[in-house]
Amino acid sequence: MDFENAKAQMRKGVLEFCILSILSRGDAYATDILNKLKESELIVVEGTLYPLLSRQKNAGLLSYRWEESTQGPPRKYYALTDKGREVLKELESSWRELIDAVDSILKK
């Protein structure tokens, strides 16, 4: 059985949840998001972030705007949309349910 795939799927789901959660605390540009994800060792290679951002944007969960930067070219700032906020709320509650459920099985 291919456990690597199961692990990758798990990480990807959690990653999408965390991106929304990071953005709920304020708008950020891709490198800010990357740094937070790397701090908590959720992301291994940086490239994985971009397809996820693009997908969430296409699903209407994120929007973006360009902002001038003092250190180089303009940056693309991502922000949560109303739909994004709703999805995040749902994900938060299902995350808690999942943890409780898994915990209750592991502890038995």
Binding site: N5, V45, G47, Y50, S54
Partner: protein
Amino acid sequence: MKKTFSVNLGSQVYNMDEDAYLIMKAYLDRIEGYFYDQKEQEDIMNDIEMRISELFSERLGISKQVITRRDVDEVIAIMGDPHEIIGEEESPRAAQEKRTGPRRIFRDPEDRMIGGVCSGLGAYMGIDPVIMRILFVLFLIFGIGFLVYIILWIVVPEARTTAQKLEMRGDSVNASNIGNFFKDEFESVKKSFRRKKN
């Protein structure tokens, strides 16, 4: 002494050593080849190029003005293999969109003498392009070949994207084929580079 290339990456100009340039180019082309949706491809490539540009600028300073092979290797290690970047993300869709349908006629821009018509037709019919060309020259002697060639040049589209190039050869368009296609191309770039070096 090394020859350098000047590139525009994320709206910034960078000077890159030739080997660094070739590897970076092959890497970006490989990632690009994984996407089907043009809008999505543009978006993601743009973001990735912006980030690479940022990583490059962190590596440059007054005493270092050229991106070297080592910088590129480091940046690629940070960004990750195209396979990891897209990974399973695309495979369910790739499986759905898997096309094993008939070949289509394209002009082949990579193997052309004039407009790529003969090599395109050759790929379509599974005939060596050289034979196609000889047939056309024979045609030409009998008078109508020239006109036919010009008409085909106008009518037959050029195979621009990777997907079209695979279709031209009758390969199905899916993530693994595209991956292989770019792997081959990457290897050939590496080989031709080594040859130049020696």
